[in-house]
Subunit: 375 residues, 2 copies
């Protein structure tokens, strides 16, 4: 019966067009969908948490369709997005005799997707790849859009490729084993899509978030709607020259917090940074008189209800000083003549790219935020 | 006066179109041509032989145009096309604060071009790059066409990207410092273009090769004509799905010899393998009754006149047994049902893709060649 509950989200990128399938238990029938792409072999790249849970099921499903399937397992965690892992994965893919018509399948969260997608982009100067995202974050965000890459000592995601997948299979049942904290982190990105340009979806989230977490049909709906939202932006601006930047709502502050907490996931994971960042972006917009205070309060109330952090004071180990925060932000954004570009909002669902925001006004805002959170 | 003797070869690849400039002393005016691309900074990647000779001149020329210029030097030699060097170069390019509008400039032979081009393809998911090829091989072959990459323990050039340069500056004066052996190696590729589909150019080579080696105007003409020939093939088949394969004339045998000599340049460099491979391809074609013996003899006579090897017996340290040669060939080509695809010729300038060549007939031919060369 799974067929009845599968949603297809097309990503119409010309000769790089592909479909995202969203639904429960897609993994069991993954082989048939992947075989339809016409490959004879697949290298499944996964991590040490996800592999033991799901890799064998996927490999069996591929083998039933007559495909050779090899499994390549990398350590779990952000540190795996490295040059060393790229070498490991590329060589393992070559070892598995993946030819130009064959496939790499990324089975895991954003770390595996970014790494395996990049390996697929460069092995034999490009083989096709399929995303089977296993975290909420990767289902609603990183598996869609074709950005792949690894981290350099100079910063995150600085080395990589635009390489669109040939297929995305978002099996929402896989999230049943995801730790609650990772579930929340991905949920911050779901909420983000509502905040960018879809007030109705934000209202839907307020009403239905418990179903999303519990794994009801609301989860599938939230994933599909998020994919639609991201796909629409990607189709408008595949290589991020223009309004794909809206997807960074909450991320200027969020990235600064990740940098300050040195990407230590024990202190802060990406989605938690985004949750705080979304609240800051709305409160900053309100403080500039752009957005009703009530909207900023509503954003915070909803994220807090799901258990996400919303305030700088909630960063474990501290969020640093205002100067440290501004420094960390300047690494992400170019500061031109004392001003930087932010994503701000005129209200829920009304975000926009705001160039020319004076560093001084950011400083004043952050001082207020940090003082407000002092005991 | 250099302007008078500069030839422009356009490579009309749609939105990836670019020009190849060929001429003496282009390096001194490189800054102006590169600045015209609109970048504010450039990272010059070079190797330990070429850097001391030419990097400062290039850097000064860029600085005179107001561009920041950093120099990144890697060791000379094929071993530099490695994952480790990729990391070194990418991180150095990031260290030089190369942003998306900026440039990587490859100043060196094919090794530097392939490595730096690949780094440019992946730093920040792609920055532009300029080729300043300094070997004959790179001027007539590797700098044109957008193939970039590194070697894996599973084989040569197995990891990389298609990334077209924004500009190629082939300064033929730079070849004045090239060792004769490298000059000859590159010359084998020049001859190859004539053999593929341009009998008149082959005849021109027979008459003018000494001028090419000596650095007369014939050198510029040979480089420009080779670039035109390669560009035409690349434009027809950018991603090597079809007749770009013709460029592999002589390379099936050549690659096998490189493999057998373990890519030890003391024993054999690529162009020497190609020279022997071209002769073998013509003699094999003749032995199959496809090509006049006289044409095969003419190919050998010309290559030998320039000092290139033409026979298996000339491989330093031996060319291996027939079985070893066949094994080495099978790693390059897929053997399907006891047959493989070769590039053969019906005569000089009349090459074609020949699928379905029985391994047995290759074996018989190689046995004859090896026996013939026994003392
Ligand atoms: N490419 C893009 O467009 C894009 C967009 C956003 C984020 N990202 C990247 O994504 C990465 C973060 O992705 P993530 O949040 O998925 O992190 P992740 O891949 O590290 O996964 C989080 C943790 O959950 C575990 N896990 C994954 N699926 C599981 C499951 N079904 N059951 C149990 N455990 C499971 C993982 O092993 C890991 O420990 C970052 O590197 C970020 O840069 C990329
Ligand atoms: N990308 C492609 O389409 C393509 C095509 C053919 C070959 N290649 C690659 O090209 C590489 C071979 O290129 P190559 O033959 O240029 O080798 P190379 O880059 O190693 O250069 C040969 C030697 O000459 C030195 N040198 C270079 N320029 C010099 C100069 N002007 N004066 C003095 N010394 C100089 C180098 O330091 C090196 O020691 C191989 O890795 C091959 O795979 C790529
Ligand atoms: Zn995010
Ligand atoms: Zn060659």
């Amino acid at each position: 019966m799974p067929a009845a509950s599968i949603t297809t989200v097309p990503v119409p990128l010309g000769d790089r067009a592909y479909d995202i399938f969203v639904g429960r238990d897609l993994l069991h029938e993954a082989g048939a969908r992947i075989a339809a792409l016409g490959a004879r072999a697949a290298a499944i790249v996964t991590d040490a948490h996800v592999g033991p849970l799901y890799a064998e099921t996927l490999a069996q499903s591929l083998k039933q369709q007559g495909l050779r399937a090899a499994i390549v397992t990398v350590p779990a965690g952000e540190a795996t997005k490295s040059y060393a892992s790229l070498e490991t994965v590329c060589d393992a893919v070559l070892e598995a005799k993946i030819e130009r018509g064959d496939l790499v399948v990324a089975l895991g969260g954003g770390v595996v997707g970014d790494l395996a997608g990049f390996a697929a982009a460069v092995v034999r100067r490009g083989v096709r790849f399929v995303q089977v995202p296993t975290t909420l974050l990767s289902q609603v965000d990183s598996s869609v859009g074709g950005k792949t890459g690894i981290n350099s000592r100079h910063g995150k995601n600085l080395v990589g490729a635009f390489h669109q997948p040939s297929l995305v299979l978002a099996d929402t049942a896989l999230l049943d084993t995801l730790p609650l904290r990772e579930m929340r982190a991905g949920y911050a990105e779901v909420v983000k899509y509502g905040l960018i340009d879809d007030a109705a979806f934000f209202a839907w989230c307020e009403k239905n978030w418990q179903g999303v977490f519990a794994g009801g049909p609301e989860r599938d709906e939230a994933v599909a709607q998020s994919c639609r939202a991201k796909a629409a932006v990607v189709v408008r601006d595949e290589r991020e020259d223009g309004d794909r930047a809206l997807l960074n709502l909450g991320h200027t502050f969020g990235h600064a917090l990740e940098r300050i907490t040195r990407y230590e996931s024990a202190r802060l994971v990406h989605g938690e940074g985004v949750a705080i960042g979304l609240c800051l972006a709305f409160r900053f917009s309100a403080s500039l008189g752009l957005c009703p205070e009530a909207d900023a309060a509503r954003v915070e109330a909803h994220l807090a209800a799901t258990g996400l952090p919303t305030r700088l004071a909630q960063v474990s180990g501290g969020c640093g000083t205002v100067d440290e925060l501004l420094d960390a932000m300047a690494q992400d954004k170019k500061v031109k003549g004392g001003a930087l570009t932010f994503i701000l909002a005129r209200g829920i669902g009304k975000s926009f790219i705001a160039p020319g925001i004076a560093v001084d006004s950011v400083r004043a805002f952050l001082e207020k935020e940090i003082n407000a959170s002092r005991p």
